[in-house]
C-alpha cells in the first residue's frame, strides 16, 4: 500500500497529499467508538470539576440541569447511544457523590433528593438517546438528499451531453465526486472483447491482468472485483458492466477509498448511476448509428446524382451526333445541301460539348490527384484574356464579350493553358446562364502586388444563398437549365489557386453576377 506521504519526482514533500492523509487519519480516530467512550467520560469529568468550583454559588439542584444540557449536546457531535448512556450514568454518579449532601458518599439524605437523582438519571438517558436517534435520522435524511441530488445532477448532465466522449467524461466526473473513487471506462472493440486501452477520460490506467478481470465482467454482464463475489480477492477495482436490455456497451471500473464500505444503499445508488449512464451511452450509440445511416444514404444519393448527370451529359451529344449521322443516310435529307450543313453544324457543336466534358473530367482528376505541375512561363495578360474570349466566342457565335484591359497589365509568370482553361470555364458559365441580350464584360487591372481580373454580366445574378456553393464540385444551382456537370467553376478555382491566386463570386450592386480573380505578383 502507498505510504501516506509520498515523494514526487522532484523530491519535494507532497504537502497536499500529506495533509489529506493526516485529515483522514484524524477523521478515522474521531469516528472510532472507543475514542467516543473516552471522550464522553472526559467531557463529563471536566464539567464535573468545573462545576465543583462553582457549586456553592449555584446550588446542587442546578448542577443537574447543567449536566443535562451537556448530555443533550453530545449527539450533535456524532456520539452514539453507548457513549451517551455512559455520560448519563457517570454524570448521575458524580452528581450524587460530589454534590448531593451528604458529600463524598453515594448515600442520599433526603427523600426528595433521591427522587431527583432517579428522575435525573432517567431523563438524562432518555433525552440523550432520543436526541441521538433524531440526529441519526437527520444524518440519514441528509445522506439520502445528497444521493438524490447527485443522481439528479448526473441525469441532468448526461442528458445535455452530446457525444460518447461527453457522456464518458460526465460519468467519470460524477462517479468520482459521489463515490470518492477513481474511475475507468472500457469500451468494446468487438462484440466479444474490450479495447486494449481505456477511455481517455478515465482517471487511472489498468494493466493486462486487470483488463482480463474487466473482460470477465463484460462477457458475463455481472459485477466483478472488490465488494463482489467474483474474483474479489485479486482486484482492488470493482467492475460494473454497462448494459441495457438490448446490448452490452462496455465496463466501468471504480477504485473506492481504502476504508469504504459498499453498503446496500450505496450499492443501489451505484446501480442507479450505472443504469443511467448505460442508457445515455445507448442513446449516443443509437444517434451515431442513425447518423451513419444518414451519411451512407447521402453518399448513395450523391453518387446517383453524379452518375445521372454525367451519363446525361455524355448521352446528349452522342444522341445528337448519331441522330445527325443517321439522318445523312436518309434519301430525303442527303439531297438537300442546306440541311446537310445544318446537321454537320449540330454534330460539330455536340462534338465540342463532348470534348469539353472529357477535358473537364480529366482536369478534375488532375486536381483531385494533387499532382498538378505548373509549366510556368512569361506571358502577356492581355494575350491570355483575348485568346480565352475568342475561343469562347467561337463556341457561341451570337454572343459578344467586351474587354477592357489596362495598358500596363503587363507580363505575368504562369501556366498559360491552365489559366486559359480557368477563364474559358468562367466565361462559358457566364454565357450559359445569362440571356442572349446580356452583356459580358472582362477587365484586367494591375495593382502593386496583384493582377485583378473581373468577369461580370448584367443578368439576374446568383441566388444569394447559393454563392457559397458555386465552386463546389458537381454542385449545380437547383432549377438551372439542363446541361452541365457542375465541374467548370470548381476546376477554374482549382487552377487559379494552383497559381496562388483567389477567385470569388458576388452579385454586383446594380444587378448581375461578377467573378473577381486575384493573381499575386511575386517578382
Amino acid at each position: 500500500m502507498e505510504t501516506p506521504v509520498k515523494k514526487n519526482e522532484s523530491g519535494e514533500l507532497n504537502i497536499e497529499t500529506a495533509a489529506k492523509h493526516f485529515k483522514s487519519y484524524i477523521r478515522k480516530i474521531w469516528n472510532s467508538s472507543i475514542t467516543k467512550y473516552f471522550l464522553s467520560a472526559f467531557i463529563i469529568s471536566i464539567s464535573g470539576l468545573l462545576l465543583y468550583l462553582i457549586h456553592l454559588h449555584i446550588g446542587y439542584q442546578s448542577i443537574s440541569l447543567v449536566f443535562l444540557f451537556i448530555i443533550s449536546l453530545l449527539p450533535l457531535m456524532n456520539f452514539k447511544p453507548g457513549p451517551i448512556f455512559l455520560a448519563a450514568v457517570m454524570s448521575a454518579l458524580i452528581w450524587n457523590f460530589f454534590f448531593i449532601p451528604p458529600y463524598y458518599t453515594f448515600r442520599i439524605g433526603k427523600v426528595e433528593d433521591a427522587m431527583m437523582f432517579l428522575m435525573y438519571f432517567v431523563i438524562a438517558s432518555v433525552s440523550g438517546l432520543l436526541i441521538s436517534r433524531i440526529r441519526t435520522q437527520q444524518i440519514l435524511i441528509n445522506q439520502k438528499e445528497r444521493r438524490t441530488a447527485a443522481l439528479y445532477n448526473l441525469t441532468r448532465d448526461l442528458s445535455s451531453s452530446r457525444s460518447l466522449d461527453d457522456v464518458t467524461q460526465c460519468s467519470v466526473n460524477h462517479l468520482k465526486e459521489t463515490f470518492h473513487s477513481e474511475v475507468v471506462f472500457l469500451y468494446p472493440e468487438t462484440d466479444k472483447s474490450l479495447k486494449s486501452s481505456v477511455h481517455p477520460a478515465s482517471t487511472f490506467k489498468i494493466d493486462d491482468a486487470e483488463r482480463n478481470v474487466a473482460q470477465i465482467s463484460f462477457l458475463s454482464s455481472q459485477k466483478v472485483g472488490r465488494f463482489t463475489h467474483n474474483v474479489s480477492s485479486i482486484s482492488p477495482v470493482t467492475y460494473v458492466p454497462l448494459t441495457t436490455k438490448s446490448r452490452k456497451y462496455g465496463v466501468a471500473g471504480l477504485i473506492f477509498p481504502e476504508d469504504a464500505l459498499l453498503d446496500t444503499e450505496a450499492e443501489s445508488l451505484l446501480d442507479t448511476f450505472i443504469a443511467q449512464i448505460s442508457t445515455a451511452i445507448e442513446r449516443e450509440y443509437l444517434t451515431e448509428l442513425a447518423k451513419n445511416n444518414l451519411v451512407i444514404a447521402e453518399s448513395e444519393k450523391l453518387y446517383k446524382t453524379l452518375f445521372d448527370s454525367i451519363s446525361h451529359e455524355l448521352k446528349t451529344p452522342i444522341t445528337t451526333i448519331i441522330g445527325a449521322i443517321s439522318s445523312l443516310k436518309d434519301e430525303k435529307i442527303n439531297g438537300n445541301r442546306n440541311i446537310i450543313l445544318q446537321l454537320i453544324d449540330e454534330a460539330g457543336i455536340a462534338t465540342e460539348r463532348l470534348k469539353r466534358l472529357v477535358e473537364n473530367l480529366l482536369d478534375i482528376t488532375r486536381l483531385e490527384r494533387g499532382n498538378l505541375k505548373l509549366k510556368k512561363d512569361w506571358h502577356s495578360i492581355a494575350d491570355l484574356l483575348y485568346s480565352s474570349i475568342s475561343r469562347v466566342e467561337s463556341d457561341s457565335s451570337n454572343r459578344k464579350i467586351n474587354c477592357n484591359i489596362e495598358e500596363d497589365a503587363g507580363l505575368y509568370n504562369f501556366d498559360y493553358p491552365l489559366l486559359e482553361q480557368a477563364l474559358i470555364n468562367i466565361l462559358h458559365n457566364s454565357i450559359e446562364y445569362t440571356g442572349d441580350e446580356c452583356k459580358i464584360d472582362v477587365t484586367a487591372k494591375r495593382r502593386s502586388d496583384s493582377i485583378v481580373i473581373t468577369i461580370s454580366d448584367d443578368g439576374k445574378g446568383f441566388p444569394e444563398n447559393e454563392i457559397k456553393n458555386l465552386f463546389t464540385k458537381f454542385y449545380r444551382i437547383p432549377g438551372t437549365k439542363a446541361g452541365g456537370t457542375g465541374l467548370g467553376l470548381s476546376i477554374a478555382k482549382g487552377f487559379i489557386e494552383a497559381h496562388g491566386g483567389t477567385i470569388k463570386a458576388q452579385n454586383r450592386p446594380g444587378g448581375g453576377a461578377e467573378f473577381i480573380i486575384l493573381l499575386p505578383i511575386n517578382s
Binding site: K315, T320, K332, E346, A482
Partner: protein
Amino acid sequence: MASQNTIVVIDDESQIRKILSITLGAEGFKVIEASKGKEGIVAVANNHPQLVILDLGLPDEDGFTVLKEIRTWSNIPIIILSVRNSEDDIVKALDLGADDYVTKPFNTAELIARIRANIRRTQLPDSQSVVVNGDLKIDFSKRLIYKNDEELKVTNTEYMLLFLLFRNLDKVLTHNYLLKEIWGPVHSEDSQYLRVFIGQIRKKIEDDPAHPKYITTDSGVGYRMRLINN
C-alpha cells in the same frame, strides 16, 4: 382536328430539339419545340399536333406528370424518348398511356418509322372486322385466324393475345397490360404465363419461331406485332 404533320417535341436539351426539328423538318413535319413540361402541355393544347415526342427527364416536372396531364383530355399518340437501361420507366410510361418509346441515342430512321407507324394507327378505323398483316389475316367477327389463307387452330387464350396484338399493330404492349387484359389484375405479375403462350403462338404463325418476324420481344418491356408490308 389535328393539324396535319405537326409534332410537338418536349425535351429540355436544346441540341436534341434542334436535331429533331432539322431531321423531322426534312421529312415534311412541322416541329414545335418545348423545353419544359408546362410549356409542352400548353403547346399540345394550342396546336393540336398529330403526335408528341416526350422526354422523361424534364427539369420542372417529370415526363410522367406531363403524360398523365395530356392523357386526361387527349388520346394523341405520344412517343417517349428515354435513356437506355430504364425499362422500368418505359413500362411505367406505357402503362400510363404512352404509345411507344425510343431510347437515346436513337437512329433517326427508326424514330421516323415509329412516328409514321403511330400516326397511321390513329388513322385506322377502329371497327375493321378483318386485318391483314403479311401472310396473316385475322377475322374479328368470326374469331378466326389464317396464315396463307389456311385457318390456324388456336386456343381461346391464344386468340385473345392475337386479338390484342392485331388491334394494336406495331405498338408495344406491356406484359402488365396483356396479363391484365387476359387473366385479370390478380395475375399482372406472372409474366411467365405470357412467355409460354407467346411461344406457342410463334410456333403456329412464324416461319422460323426462333427468329420471329411478326411478334417481337422488347426486352424487359413487352411484345409487339410488327407491321409487315405486303
